[in-house]
């Protein structure tokens, strides 16, 4: 385990903390300074992350669609998304004349803030999370469901029937799929006996839950991927936007930076659900170990925990992007039928099985 500690980021954060506390006497000012640093770092890194995800989505889409994708601005087109953002910054942010201006302008912020708040308890590397709250799973699932508020606001205040239809679809969809996401999260909470994300990761030291929890854990993982894709409004569940039906749905009337904020929120949400999937089912930053293969395990330990976490997260992101570019969109009644008739009953039975496994100690 020595090697894992070698790559821990806790030394770095402790160093900064010591540096600050030796210079700032007042505890309150120290706290505020540290929070500001974290906030700014978080904002910058999230924006960079979204740039990367935007570029990745376009390149993955191009890969699926026999195209090249953006490859002119910057190395391999990585700066294309920066150029696009700059363009959006300079565009006029129109507010429709009959819209509810306060709600219309507030909605994108709510969506983005809800998405960003969910980042807090995620462990990006060993001992490196912003706030490892002891009810982390609960926190993430409740905070991320706040975004529906922003979407409903956007749809309602736009004074556009397409937007309203999109928002209503989104509301029904997020409320329904929340259940399946919650139940698949609970499956892991039951198995690990903990709601803190840090503790859940620690419980996967000798094997990830997707391997340890037998078939029910795999079912929970699949349901989690399906339901969380629906929760973040991505194809094949992007009914709230549905370009071909609702011409953009709830964000039809948005332009400029306000529109960009919806995109930003979408990518942060994508990252959050993938990171949650990686944390709960694929062991977070835990390296991949195989039973007694000591030398193999040691090599795996040398890979930094941050790389492990990001690798797993991006694997899930790639899968979600993959089926975005392959599947057609569901219809609104089929979407609800899928949740209430299939996913929910399956997850309920799954929970019973998982509980049985946890009580009897059948998991490895």
């Amino acid at each position: 385990m020595k090697s894992v500690i070698l790559y821990s980021l806790s030394g770095f954060s402790t160093y900064i903390h010591n540096l600050l506390s030796s210079n700032i006497g007042n505890n309150l000012i120290l706290l505020i300074t540290e929070l500001t640093i974290i906030g700014i770092t978080l904002l910058i890194s999230l924006v960079l992350l979204c740039f990367f995800l935007g570029w990745m989505e376009r390149r993955v889409a191009a890969f699926m669609e026999l195209r090249l994708g953006p490859n002119r601005v910057g190395p391999q087109g990585t700066l294309q998304i920066v150029a696009d953002t700059v363009k959006l910054l300079f565009k006029e942010g129109l507010t429709p004349s009959k819209s509810d201006k306060f709600l219309f302008n507030l909605a994108p912020f709510i969506v983005v803030v809800a998405a960003m708040m969910a980042i807090a308890p995620l462990a990006f590397a060993k001992n490196f999370s912003i706030f490892d709250i002891n009810i982390g799973v609960l926190y993430v699932s409740s905070v991320s469901s706040l975004s529906v508020l922003g979407v409903l606001m956007a749809g309602w205040s736009s004074y556009n029937k397409y937007s309203l239809l999109g928002a209503m679809r989104s509301g029904a969809q997020i409320v329904s799929y929340e259940l399946s996401v919650g139940l698949s999260l609970i499956a892991i909470v039951v198995l690990s006996g903990n709601t803190s994300l840090g503790e859940i990761i620690n419980s996967q030291q000798n094997g990830w839950w997707i391997f340890k929890g037998h078939i029910p854990a795999i079912i929970a993982f699949v349901i989690f991927i399906i339901a969380s894709t629906a929760e973040i409004n991505r194809a094949p569940f992007d009914l709230a936007e549905a370009d071909q039906e609702l011409t953009g749905g709830f964000n039809t009337e948005y332009s400029g930076m306000k529109f960009a904020m919806f995109l930003l929120a979408e990518y942060i949400n994508l990252f959050v659900v993938s990171a949650m999937g990686a944390t709960l089912f694929l062991g977070g930053w835990m390296p991949f170990h195989i039973g007694n293969w000591e030398s193999f395990n040691q090599i795996m330990d040398y890979i930094p925990s941050f790389v492990w976490f990001m690798g797993k997260t991006f694997l899930i992101i790639f899968i979600i992007m993959w089926f975005r570019w392959t599947f057609p969109r569901l219809r609104v009644d089929q979407l609800l039928k899928l949740e209430w008739k299939y996913l929910l009953p399956i997850s309920m039975i799954n929970i019973i099985l998982i509980t049985l496994i946890a009580i009897m100690g059948w998991h490895f």
Partner: protein, 374 residues
Amino acid sequence: MRGLIEEDYTTKEGEFVINIGPQHPSTHGVLHLKVWLNGETIIKIQPHLGYIHRSIEKMSERLSYRNFIFATSRMDYLAAHINNEACALAVEKGLQIEATPRAKVVRTILSELTRLSSHQLWWASTGLDLGAVTPFFYAFREREAILDIMDETCGARLTQNYMVPGGLMNDIHPNFQKRTKEVLKQIKEKFKEYDDILTGNVIFINRTKGVGYLSKEDALSYGVTGPTARASGLSCDIRKWAPYSAYPSVDFEEILDTEGDSYSRYLIRMKEMKQSVSIIEQLIDNIPEGDFQEKTKNVIKLPKGEFYQRVETPRGELGVYIVSEGMSSPYRIKYRSPNFSNLSVLPTIAKGYKIGDLVAIMATIDLVIPDIDR
């Protein structure tokens, strides 16, 4: 007519009107549908036309019999070649001549290539309308290859303008046969890919099966033709019923189905593509030698009378009706366009379905808007 369309309808409690189009991604043009909705359920649809009316019929009355043909390229722009062919055939009927054997075979091959490329674009946009973006690029890969053949032989990719009364404008390109065979080989390989990505997809089947049911009676009474009608069991393939060009000599099947839903319309077109490939394969090695154009006078004058020619476009029956007063340009021209009749059935078959279904129904009816307005 106006009273018939603008039938009064009072919006009831809980219903609201939404305007789909004239600028909307899934109307594929400037079609305007006024839709009454209750929640997501469609109560009533009123198509509004006229946004792309260019008075092609009126224009043709001032054009010579050689020139008016090319105005029709802009009607159903996905089947420009077939439109041209219909006009050329109508003029030939009036002149009581026939195209040379070589021209007949080349016309048929090009018609079927057009049908293939049109069906491929339809397949692409159907996927796109239902939210699957990738099929679009798959279909365009093969469509590009077909358009390249058109480019080489006709000199244009979309509005070919290759038909003249009596035959073809020029002889085919020396590479025509070789390239066509190559493209056919490529297309035949890719059919499986098409089926893998869309036909067998469970979401796609759920979105289209049982959606937009069109009965045989409705198809008949609304004058629906083409694959849309054939999916309802109405045999209406002009290539079989009134063969023209080289169709009498080729062996092909008229694909029929009785389901009448969107999925059935989808399958009909997928199978028609295979039939088109088979037709071209039968003809491509048997292009007769000889003239590509029958001798005609410099100024064509049709005898006094009325001439009607119908052909099978990828979307149904196109009729060209020429009234001649013996002058060098037609006295009156009327096109019976397949899309106008096919659109007329949309309000009937889409009633009671959801907005998402409306998009699926419009996609599988395969509307080309400039052909509706002309």
